[in-house]
């Protein structure tokens, strides 16, 4: 079984982002960039399947700038076998390459590489769209197991447990399938130094979007990007009695 893992280069989750003063987007210059956390879980899941003897090859792919090679190297250090960068200078967070375009590019790659499984994050923490996996699944006519917290693969049958609003739901999917990861699927490993060194020698191909025949023209134009309204907080109470009094008599939210 061959697994394709699409990943995204995003602002590191520890960075407090700032909106640009011209309201065109979010400041990305000199900001730490990382693999989207959900995608890191996807890489880990694929690599574990390989380690368990259920997968033969793990291919990491991203669509992004030249520098996104850094994130592909991270994937290779975790244990992916090779990587592909679809190089574009268009923004990948807002007003540039959108989930539908990404899904089309990934579809072209799937047709080229013929994986049996595509595992990717349920959403990227920059645009928070939560669409790409579902869209890719639609375009390929494959089954989808979104928000996965558990995966069991037995031959052609994939049992996936999904984190849904009311609890956990289990589906049985027919391969080939798309899996999108939720937080509890696994805890990604830290790549060890020898693996990081080894990753530098692994194959990383760079291709142009045109080779995939995909048009990245956005369908959504950004009117403006603003800071959210600030909440006035910081009020303190000194005791439980004062808290109860305030909630009853000032805020009037308890009886």
């Amino acid at each position: 079984m061959k697994i394709l893992v699409p990943i995204k280069r995003v602002v590191d989750y520890n960075v407090k982002v700032r909106v640009k003063s011209d309201q065109s987007g979010v400041e990305l210059a000199n900001v730490k960039m990382s693999v989207n956390p959900f995608d890191e879980i996807a890489i880990e899941a694929a690599v574990r399947l390989k380690e368990a003897g259920k997968a033969t090859e793990v291919i990491a792919v991203t669509i992004g700038p030249e520098k996104a090679q850094e994130q592909l190297r991270t994937a290779l250090a975790i244990g992916a076998d090779r990587a592909i960068l679809v190089k574009t200078d268009a923004p990948t967070d807002l007003g540039g390459v959108e989930p539908l375009a990404v899904a089309k590019a990934l579809k072209a790659l799937v047709e080229k590489e013929s994986p049996d499984l595509v595992i990717l994050g349920k959403q990227a923490i920059d645009d928070d769209s939560n669409q790409t996996g579902q869209m890719l699944s639609a375009l390929l006519g494959w089954s989808q197991g979104t928000f996965a917290s558990k995966l069991d693969i037995e031959g052609n049958n994939i049992k996936v447990t999904r984190e849904v609003d009311g609890g956990l739901e289990t589906l049985s999917l027919k391969a080939p399938a798309i899996i999108t990861t939720d937080l509890r699927l696994n805890e990604p490993r830290y790549a060890k130094l020898p693996d990081i060194m080894k990753a530098k020698k692994k194959q990383l191909d760079i291709i142009e979007p045109a080779e995939l025949g995909v048009d990245f023209t956005p369908r959504l134009s950004i009117v403006k990007v603003e800071e959210p309204p600030k909440r006035q907080g910081g009020g303190k109470v000194a005791s439980v009695d004062e808290l109860i009094d305030k909630l009853r008599n000032e805020a009037k939210v308890i009886s």
Binding site: V17, D128, S143
Partner: protein, 311 residues
């Protein structure tokens, strides 16, 4: 202009998030139709027909639609889509799973989790875990939209008298089958619909210790929530998680207990009307958004609250 709203339901009852989604549809203006795709879902269709502002309910009632499998529901939406300028679904795990699949089949770029309607083509949505709000304008012929429930008032579930029309299922894709659900059993109100939410974080320390949080919730008729840290540590089930990657809530009262206030968590609760924080670390970021912060050991403060709130 006509709008189609995908109803979320369990074949018996209409999920409340559908009413908030209808609230967003109402702001757009135009005829509002509701699609109920399920099995033996007649009572849901009847409930949808009574909702304020709905002029027609389309009922696709067939066994392969029983569990809301995206592979089977999306083609039903695709078949109907040509009649609509906007297709809306709640931004719940149900809507998020199905709607992008339908949008892609029609070559439309979905607009996810809108928090405001500016005009028929323009919508605001939180990005970067709610640290920025992007206003986007769509050039697509059909706008596929998921709706963040907490930012739109629900329409009334009564007063309407829409007609119910049968539409056909497109059959079973054969791609996936439903195996089962492990529902979290609880007599408490549903997290996203509760007036009061009591959430615990890593500071609570263990699954056993969560009992004091639950006791407080029961005294106040509240739902129980949790931070990602508490869920990851296994104190409570996954569906308790409040945050950008969990559930977004906006109750009248939100109490964050033993929660430090990571950006990710704040994104899921900062629109609550009143926020209370109880934490022994006075520098915890949660205090910056709290209306009433109590710097205290939660193992002293919460039992004291429980005894003084009596009942």
């Amino acid at each position: 202009m006509a709008i189609l709203v995908l109803a979320e339901h369990d074949n018996k009852e209409l999920a409340k998030a559908t009413l908030n989604t209808l609230g967003a549809a109402k702001q757009l203006g135009g005829d509002i139709h509701v699609l109920v795709a399920g099995a033996n879902c007649g009572s849901v269709a009847d409930a949808a027909a009574k909702c304020e502002g709905v002029s027609k309910v389309l009922k696709a009632d067939s066994v392969e639609l029983a569990h809301g499998l995206a592979e089977n529901v999306a083609p039903v939406i695709v078949e109907l889509a040509g009649n609509y300028s906007h297709i809306l679904a709640p931004a719940t795990t149900y809507g998020k799973n199905i709607l992008p699949r339908a949008a892609a089949l029609l070559d439309m770029q979905q607009i996810s989790e809108i928090s405001a309607v500016v005009d028929a083509d323009t919508f605001a949505r939180p990005v970067y875990a709610g640290n920025a709000i992007a206003t986007v304008k769509s050039s697509d012929k059909i706008k596929f939209i998921t709706v963040r429930g907490t930012t739109f008032d629900p329409v009334s579930a009564t007063g309407g008298s829409a007609s119910v029309e049968e539409v056909s299922s497109k059959g079973d894709s054969g791609l996936s089958t439903y195996v089962g659900t492990e529902a979290t059993e609880s007599d408490r109100p549903e997290l996203t619909a509760a007036d009061i939410v009591i959430s615990g974080g890593r500071g609570v320390g263990s699954a056993e210790n969560f009992a004091i949080i639950e006791e407080l919730a029961d005294k106040l008729g509240a739902a129980v929530g949790a931070s990602r840290a508490a869920v990851d540590a296994g104190y409570v089930p996954n569906d308790y998680q409040v945050g950008q990657t969990g559930k977004v809530v906006a109750p009248d009262l939100y109490m964050a207990i033993g929660i430090s206030g990571a950006i990710q968590h704040l994104a899921g609760m900062k629109d609550s009307k009143v926020i209370v924080a109880i934490n022994k670390d006075e520098d915890a970021p949660i205090f910056q958004v709290a209306d009433y912060g109590l710097v205290a050991d939660l193992f002293e403060a919460v039992p004291e609250l429980n005894s003084k709130l009596g009942k």
